[in-house]
């Protein structure tokens, strides 16, 4: 604790009728125990004029149950401490006790908005453990459905970005797009959200007529729709001024912080797993890696605009997949119960939020020995503490939603 710092006192509760329980301590912004680490001591000590504001686990921001303790001096945020764990469901432990097929449905709810990517990396890791080669048609279907979901995720991001800054209308547009895309995916997967579609060695169901007709309808409107959604807010002065220059992140810092995905590319670093370490059939597809903010660092507006660029690239990829779709089986022939030889495998994909990786250890039984899930939003959320120094409270939401966190993945 710094000298001249005033310690935070608990409020004295004189009137017993005001508080009915005595466990009020757990809901205070300041923990009711002495600080356990250096950072905790540094954060939970107040100087003159500072106070804590608790953005509790339930708040109107729709990213999920994230608790952020802000230390503010007037309107300026001096420091912030995110508290996670309100959605920790113990997925890794459950995966250690599940069959290899069951794991696919266990990892779906991690980033529930882009759940096909959550299945992709485990399935790739298991295919490496089993030395299985995936048929080309299955790979193309994976890429097609994955990019479709990436478009849905980025379009939702635009809506949430606007919602967090106060605009209630763009979210409705986003949900129109998202509803169409998930109904298209429901035609082959059977589910609107937690698809459970990828299998070790391929996918579960082939493309059918309903999927192709819905996809064709959507694609014929998609480009114009994207431009329309873009035009909705890009020219809006309030929106732009709230985001320009807020939360500037330069490329070196982003790399050191372990950031990945659009947050890293908006800082000028062209790192995309699809090109950096190509998997599936991405080497055969033509698409670019858009970056923004090279040299000067990326602010929230760059992160917002970059995701729009990525939507355009994803539409290109979907087009190519539809044109080049090969024939063949959609799944490799595998026995029903999978028991890979003992070994270790790492597989990573480019999820809409960044590098999503799975480290799987097999011990020869039908359940993996260890399955580590590396989630991109988890690492990206560390940036919030870095980017929020000396910004105003109202910029907290601009920065946090420009990083696009999804609490299911962060808390596993």
């Amino acid at each position: 604790m710094t000298p001249n710092a005033q310690t935070h006192q608990h409020p004295s509760l004189d009137d017993p009728r005001i508080m009915l329980d005595d466990q009020i301590g757990q809901f205070e912004a300041v923990p009711p125990y002495p600080p356990r680490t250096e950072r905790e001591a540094e954060f939970y000590s107040l100087r003159d004029g500072e106070m804590f504001v608790n953005m509790g686990p339930q708040h109107p921001s729709t990213h999920g149950v994230l608790r952020v303790v802000l230390k503010i001096n007037g309107e300026q945020v001096v420091d912030l401490d995110p508290v996670l764990g309100y959605l920790h469901r113990g997925v890794e432990k459950l995966c250690e006790n599940s069959d290899y097929h069951h794991i696919i449905s266990q990892v779906d709810p991690l980033e529930y908005v882009s759940s096909l990517f959550m299945e992709w990396a485990p399935v790739m890791a298991f295919e490496k453990l089993l030395d299985v080669e995936v048929p080309r048609r299955a790979e193309y279907i994976r890429v097609l459905t994955g990019e479709l979901l990436r478009v849905s995720s980025h379009v939702l991001f635009q809506g949430f970005m606007a919602l967090d800054l106060g605009g209630l209308t763009p979210i409705l547009y986003s949900f129109i797009e998202r509803d169409e895309i998930v109904e298209t995916l429901a035609a082959i997967t059977g589910q609107r959200m937690l698809f459970n579609y990828f299998r070790v060695g391929g996918v579960n169901g082939d493309l059918n007529h309903e999927f192709m007709s819905r996809l064709g309808d959507w694609m014929s409107r998609a480009t114009k729709q994207v431009e329309a959604n873009v035009g909705l807010l890009n020219e809006n002065e309030i929106f732009v001024r709230r985001m320009r220059g807020v939360g500037v992140l330069d490329g070196d810092t982003a790399l050191r912080m372990g950031a990945s995905g659009p947050n890293l590319r908006a800082s000028g670093v062209p790192f995309d797993v699809r090109r950096a370490h190509p998997y599936s059939v991405y080497p055969e597809l033509e698409f670019d890696i858009p970056t923004r903010g090279a040299g000067r660092g990326g602010d929230s507006l760059d992160r917002y605009l970059l995701r729009q660029d990525e939507v355009r690239e994803s539409l290109r990829i979907i087009d190519q997949c539809l044109h080049n779709m090969p024939d063949g089986p959609i799944t490799a022939r595998l026995p029903r119960l999978l028991r890979p030889r003992p070994g270790r495998a790492w597989a990573a994909v480019e999820a809409p939020r960044g590098l999503y990786g799975i480290y799987a250890i097999s011990d020869g039984t039908d359940q993996p020995f260890r399955m580590k899930i590396h989630d991109p939003s988890f690492v990206n959320l560390q940036l919030v503490g870095l980017l929020m120094k000396n910004n105003l409270i109202a910029d907290t939401m601009a920065v946090m939603s420009s990083l696009d966190p999804i609490m299911g993945g962060i808390d596993k």
Partner: protein, 182 residues
Amino acid sequence: MDRSLRTRLEARFADRLTGPVRQRHDATEIRVRPADVVEVLRALHDDAELEFVVLADLCGVDTGTHMQVVYHLWSAKTPDWLRIIADGMPREDPRCPSLTGLWPGAEWMERETYDMFGIIFEGNRDLRRIYMPPDYTSFPLRKDFYLADDAARSPGGGVRHMEQTHVPAQATPRVVRRTVKA
């Protein structure tokens, strides 16, 4: 499978490796002692030929007999992922130097490893629990922490499975071999 990476690593870190450099599919794996972790990773990061700038993952593993910390790195100079296994930590008091001096983004990943396994990262300024409540006393991902109805591995046993699956005698045979050229 990048053979040249293997020779480069063996040449550079001959005295630090505690095991052979193994390669499988597109991953190269090296094993080091926990005490050497920071030095090795700093060399991997700063060396102009190796240039492993992206820390992709940091995780803990409880092998039942001891604890490991596993790092995954990416470099533009090689088509392989690099896996560094810091092996041999005792299960009662697992300690490992922290990577936060090199990659500040490792802070939360180390917090998560501490929360799930109890591995103390020396040098991490903020080593407190991240998922579980701060007064939680167990470390959930350790192998001696059993779920409530973990029939297969718990000493209690005997809880009815929801589905009985047929367990074959041998491992899944390799049906389609993926041809991997070095």
